[in-house]
Symmetry: C2
């Protein structure tokens, strides 16, 4: 079956896929499990932070007007009438010439309007009473952390769709989120196809290879924030394959197959899509590797028919599956991060299609510089292990030279 | 207790800590769980990849010498004597003027030395026999993926100490690692201190705040690849605190406390270290925030006494605890990634100590540019949520200007 296929541009293919964006639900999880998950509701402050005027230092709370007479050699003596640890409250009002010993974070007592740091004081006892000698003048409101100065009640702090980092966890804790609303992860099925595939724990046989794509996909799905569900490898049998794929589709949000989308006699996916009544969005993309990448839809369940070639499979996932995962998670930014980088080497080879080269980027004095991660024949899985980006070289040009600016897609490792 | 403390430079403090590097053990885990873990053994190819000469295309395997007479209008007709799917082997030897239909990835049959792509052929049947018409001359060894051309048997592919990404997972699958040797994660205890702390599910009370540092730490520990073990918050009671900390130390590889390391009357950690007979490596670092950061050692168990101030706690963790985790995991690179970036704003404030500002970096035409993530008073947890780097401003200078190059520490979000 040697079908005529019309390649569509990469950008157009991505647009086709993202039309089918399916949004997931919200679930509540423990705060200790929230890191790297996607916040499903805006985080809005429901109280001021600090929630009371407090001391930023260890020292003494006092009335600044009592320090106006302090001169270089004339300290002022105040009577120490209390002691406030963090978490405690001084319940009386501070009177003239009184001071209260106060710890970092403790609330400013009534009547006090300034804090003097411990190192600017001397304490002593006389007749069983405590005194503090003040060596500095203080201004009204000096050294006070004011109620709401960090965050005002009602402030929108973090937008939904943001990936939760440790700083956001601190905010969630501050506002009492023992349970955190996050986007439910999509469950994505993975099926490898091809009679040549051995499982990873099987010994090699002539003509066969171990199934590496499915495990690679599982890693890529985890990295993208999805839950991979691996359904094993299918041999090249149409009826069995069709039955398995129909079953699996009921259990997953999306399905990825690797292999079987080319024009070989055993490439069964095109026929399976037909049997399923799937709407084939495209079956050829103007890119290398992965030109045979196919995406089909049955209602709102997308079937990603990725190439059996490891690099093509990898690239197809990052370009086409990742945005769908981001949409499902309702992330603020959709798809893999793209930046401009300087090429460190020449690419003389001209190609009518866009090329996606497994690359490495690094910083040279703060500037993004990129080069290929290794040999670049598309069957070479070794360079995938070294890659931290994909270098995009638009097709139909004169080739690229060292120093040219190119787009790189950051893989996020 | 107003101790005299001698601040040591940040670099010196890091050096002190990393002297105590404790290396973890190796454990074996499922390949599907291996992503983001640290490889504990060098990954060395134990067979060639491909492990046999194979076809890179769908097409026909043939003897190139049979195509020497092919001219533009004179195709050569070969007899099709077999059909090899991927995973199958053709067990006979190819004779003169014979061809075998072959799929991508299938082994080259004996006697064949070239592959012609399907699109350069026409097939037909005559008297019940299959023939293929060849329209191209082929060279000896044309279109063959050779045994070992991707990876040669014995090649060192990935060094131990490397973080496992999806490409490395593909390699591990290829070489049959159903179980993967990875560095065991360190178990790190987290204890918050301070009578002012409420748990996250408790309602606010006057003078009290919810415990956010411990949860933030848990997130930072997860990000750094450790297993956090949270032991709750201690009130400011020496005896109870000492007992709890002594107990916990038996269960963890390292212990982090937050709060209680300053000079306040309720800052109990200095006394606890003394009671434990701990070797205090330093109790003051020439940095802001976090100058009171203290690290002590009991044998090879490090006790990180981080500040109770959220930003100081955060910075102290990234500078001092993270390298220890990396060492424990025997990572190839130790400590947080540092790069040069261009400042987008002025910092006029002069400080004798190094400052670590919560920052954001982004790329402007491939160039790292950085600015503060928000307000920078050290109690302001909001800017921590927005930060993706720490901007390091060395102390004792004239301040910094927009356009200056500064070191940033990438937080890895």
């Amino acid at each position: 079956m040697l079908n005529e296929r019309n390649p569509i541009p990469v950008v157009e293919a991505i647009k086709q896929v993202t039309k089918y964006c399916k949004k997931g639900e919200t679930e509540y999880i423990e705060l200790t499990e929230a890191r790297s998950r996607v916040l499903a509701e805006d985080l809005i402050a429901d109280h001021d932070v600090p929630s009371f005027d407090r001391s930023p230092y260890d020292g003494y709370a006092l009335r600044s007007e009592d320090t106006t007479e302090v001169m270089k050699n004339t300290p002022k003596i105040l009577s120490v009438v209390g002691h406030i640890g963090a978490g405690s409250v001084y319940h009386k009002k501070l009177e003239k010439n009184q001071a209260v010993r106060i710890m970092t974070g403790a609330p400013i007592p009534d009547g006090a309007d300034a804090i003097i740091m411990l190192e600017d004081t001397t304490t002593f006892e006389e007749s069983g009473k405590s005194f503090v000698s003040i060596r500095k003048q203080l201004q009204h409101q000096q050294n006070i952390s004011f109620k709401g100065e960090d965050v005002k009640n009602g402030t929108a702090l973090v937008n939904k769709g943001t990936v939760i980092n440790p700083g956001i966890i601190a905010l969630l804790a501050t506002f009492g989120y023992a349970q955190v609303p996050v986007a439910k992860k999509p469950v994505i099925g993975v099926i490898a196809t091809g009679s040549e595939l051995l499982e990873i724990d099987q010994p090699l046989e002539p003509g066969k290879i171990r199934n590496s794509n499915a495990y690679m996909m599982i890693g890529q799905l985890q990295r993208a924030g999805a839950i991979p569900q691996y359904y094993g490898a299918l041999t090249d049998n149409l009826e069995e394959s069709l039955e398995k794929i129909s079953e699996v589709m009921k259990e997953v949000d999306f399905l990825i197959t690797t292999g079987g989308v080319s024009v070989g006699d055993f490439d069964l996916l095109p026929e399976i899509y037909q049997e399923l009544g799937a709407d084939v969005l495209f079956n050829k993309v103007a890119m290398r590797p992965g030109s045979v990448t196919t995406v089909a839809a049955v209602n709102d369940t997308l079937l990603f028919g990725l190439s059996g070639n490891p690099s093509a499979c990898y690239v197809g996932f990052e370009l086409f599956t990742r945005p769908i995962i981001d949409s499902f998670l309702a992330k603020e930014t959709i798809g893999i991060q793209q930046e401009q980088a300087t090429l460190a080497v020449d690419f003389s080879k001209v190609n009518p299609f866009d090329r996606f080269i497994r690359g490495r980027y690094e910083f040279k004095n703060g500037q993004l510089v990129t080069e290929p991660a290794g040999k670049d024949k598309s069957n070479m899985v070794h360079s995938l292990a070294m890659a931290n980006c994909l270098i995009q070289l638009p097709g139909g040009t004169e080739g690229y030279k060292q120093g040219d600016k190119v787009t790189i897609h950051l893989l996020g490792e």
